[in-house]
């Protein structure tokens, strides 16, 4: 019988080693599925990870694909940091996209200088509005935010589908897709020769701001305090409700801006497939990024790399593109599972207790990560 014993101190080499192990285990677990599709797992993984980084154009595609994940990952990380489990980034992303489409098609003559901030503000407001009810229920009546944010995701998707099947249906093609947004709303390209657009730059600026606030300001300290222990924070005079409410609203606003970025930067119109589960993947990004803005940026790019690779592998190796999601989710579970060993070391149970093991009695505490 193996048990886990609290470590006295974590060796510096441990975390990188464990992450390395997680990657290997993920490979071993997913390889049979790739083989089932009739492809060589090694070749498939080379396509997932290496191939997208070989040409400037495909690196651009990686950055483009990581853009929505940057927004949702940041949104989730900020909320989780403050102890608000926002699982509804998907819904907030969708209503942000709806808001951007609405302003983009209604006021289609507005010039770019005014149009882009206008769309961003509209999307941020929509995202914040979508999280407002769960946030108020949470801070006012202690109603679990996980459930309420989750339940609003299908509602947001139904809103999108309702608009596309009803008032916004394309009058020319009769397809369930909206008209195109006005030219002023199109995000300009920021890296010439690629499709990387302003949304990516905005996401990076937001990540930098989030780092600044979380790591260098009193607001950030309050947020982290509330997340670690709301009782402790309250005892030290932190306005727990205010902090949680504002973190939730900022989280919703950022997720909403992600929807704006996807509409104005890439699709130029609203479709039913505007979000490929970006809100849920944002939870993966935030968790693997250890809820830090720098981590979110790195992980979002890694997942962007895998998604671009999975798309190309589906064409060349006939491995269905859903493999990208399988790899991502496996990596998440293996990593969070194995990182437990950072705080606990496995010990093979001996029958008799020695003085050494008795000295290591750990306090019964809530383990958060």
């Amino acid at each position: 019988m193996i048990r886990l014993v609290l470590r006295g101190r974590e060796p510096r080499w441990l975390a990188p080693l464990l992450v390395g192990c997680a990657v290997v285990i993920t490979y071993v677990l997913t390889a049979p599925l790739i083989r089932w599709a009739g492809a060589n797992p090694m070749a498939a993984y080379r396509r997932y990870v290496i191939t997208p980084l070989t040409t400037p154009v495909s690196i651009g595609e990686v950055l483009l694909t990581s853009t929505p994940l940057l927004f949702t990952g940041l949104a989730v990380a900020i909320a989780f940091r403050a102890g608000f489990y926002n699982i509804g980034a998907e819904g907030q992303f969708l209503v942000g996209a709806v808001a951007a489409t609405w302003v983009g098609t209604t006021f289609d003559g507005v010039p770019a200088a005014a149009a882009i901030p206008f769309a961003l503000v509209a999307g941020a407001l929509a995202g914040a509005l979508w999280i407002l009810i769960p946030a108020l229920l949470r801070v006012g009546f202690r109603i679990d935010e996980v459930v309420t944010t989750l339940l609003l995701n299908p509602v947001a998707l139904l809103l999108v589908q309702g608009l596309l099947n009803g008032p916004w249906r394309n009058p020319v093609s009769q397809f369930p897709e909206s008209a195109h947004i006005g030219p002023g709303f199109n995000f300009p390209t920021v890296i010439p020769g690629t499709r990387v657009h302003l949304g990516f730059a905005i996401a990076i600026v937001l990540a930098a701001l989030a780092w600044l606030v979380l790591a260098r300001t009193a607001t950030g300290l309050r947020m982290r305090a509330v997340g670690l222990s709301s009782t402790g924070a309250r005892f030290n005079g932190v306005g727990v409700e205010r902090t949680m409410l504002s973190s939730a609203l900022v989280s919703g606003a950022i997720a909403g801006m992600g929807g704006v970025s996807q509409v104005c930067g890439l699709q130029r119109q609203l479709t039913g497939e505007i979000s490929a589960g970006f809100g849920y993947t944002g939870i993966v990004v935030a968790t693997l990024g250890a809820l830090t803005p720098v981590g979110v940026v790195l992980v979002a790019m890694l997942l962007g790399d895998i998604v671009v690779g999975a798309d190309s592998a589906s064409l060349v190796l006939q491995v269905p593109p859903q493999m990208g999601q399988v790899v991502t989710a496996t990596l998440l579970l293996v990593t969070v599972g194995i990182l437990v060993l950072r705080r606990y070391r496995p010990v093979v149970n001996r029958r008799r207790r020695t003085a050494e093991t008795r000295a290591e009695v750990i306090p019964l505490e809530e383990v958060r990560q």
Partner: protein
């Protein structure tokens, strides 16, 4: 005009899924573990049940294998949340994402992008009687499973142990109850029931598998558990409320007054009603004492 008999019939069919799923989640959460993998477990149950029924021609074999798949999904949650003590929100969402991705991947490999395959569904009992014409699983769910689980949780030693490790694992441990083993048992029971809920979708209600077939019903079940204050009968009442609104919107959609209301607004109604019900009744409810807390000894 609304046909009350049709309304009730549809309500019990659609409530069956939620009864199995939320009963499974009640058992799990009573042991102190939040299983957010419920949506993925239902999805696996739906997909595996459909695939096996398609290959063997028997929905019962499909149901059996779906339950086995649900147990595997629950075992994954056991490993993460009980043995390793990982954050339950993250492991649950991760499990759901993984299971849905694996099912969609397998679906693509097995069925490509071809036309919908219909499978033989469960027979309907008492075919021409209003309201009573239901699937056997509906009868089992309401008349056998629910009373049995309510009895199990409140009147047996096993149920007491589940509640003990969910309320105060330290005390339970001192009293000689294996916290890990009890939580494993609760998670496995829950996983099996969630898989039945999913299989009921494909093998009774729809007769085929489509992407996103669960459509957030797992999240609804989680809400129903809170709404029912972690009691089986409370969750059943919540399931009937959601299913009642769901059946009502389907009926209203064909009446003259509501024919012009977009379908999507009607479909969204039950979700909003559940949130409203939570807002009205879920204030400051008492969660199981060890909710979300992993337990480790020495």
């Amino acid at each position: 005009m609304i046909d009350i008999a049709d309304l009730l019939t549809a309500m019990f069919v659609s409530a069956t899924v939620l009864v199995y799923a939320s009963a499974g989640e009640v058992v799990t959460e009573r042991a102190g573990v939040l299983n957010l993998g419920i949506e993925g477990t239902m999805y696996v149950g739906a997909f595996v049940g459909f695939t096996v029924a398609d290959h063997t021609g028997s929905p019962w074999v499909g149901l059996g294998v779906a339950v086995a798949a649900g147990l595997v999904a629950a075992a994954l949650m056991c490993l993460l949340t009980v043995t390793l003590g990982v954050n339950q929100h993250v492991s649950g969402i991760g499990t759901t994402l993984l299971l849905i991705a694996v099912c969609d991947y397998s679906n693509r490999l097995l069925y490509g992008g071809g036309q919908l395959v219909q499978v033989k569904t469960f027979p309907v009992l008492f075919k021409d009687t209003p309201v009573a014409s239901q699937y056997l699983l509906t009868y089992i769910g309401f008349l056998v499973l629910v009373p049995f689980l309510a009895w199990l949780l409140t009147r047996t030693g096993f149920g007491l142990r589940i509640r003990a490790v969910g309320e105060n694992p330290e005390a339970a441990d001192v009293a000689g109850i294996s916290v890990a083993r009890t939580r494993y048992a609760a998670l496995l029971i829950g996983g099996a029931l969630m898989a039945v809920a999913g299989a009921f979708l494909t093998l009774a209600m729809v007769g085929t598998f489509t992407l996103n077939i669960t459509a957030g019903r797992g999240w609804v079940a989680i809400a129903l558990v809170i709404f029912g204050r972690w009691r089986i009968w409370g969750a059943v009442a919540g399931a009937l409320l959601f299913a009642g609104v769901d059946a009502l919107q389907l009926q209203l959609a064909i009446t003259e007054t509501f024919a012009h209301v977009p379908r999507e607004i009607m479909i969204a109604m039950p979700y909003l009603v559940v949130i409203a019900a939570l807002a009205a009744s879920g204030r400051n409810v008492a969660y199981p004492g060890a909710y979300l807390k992993p337990y480790r000894r020495i």
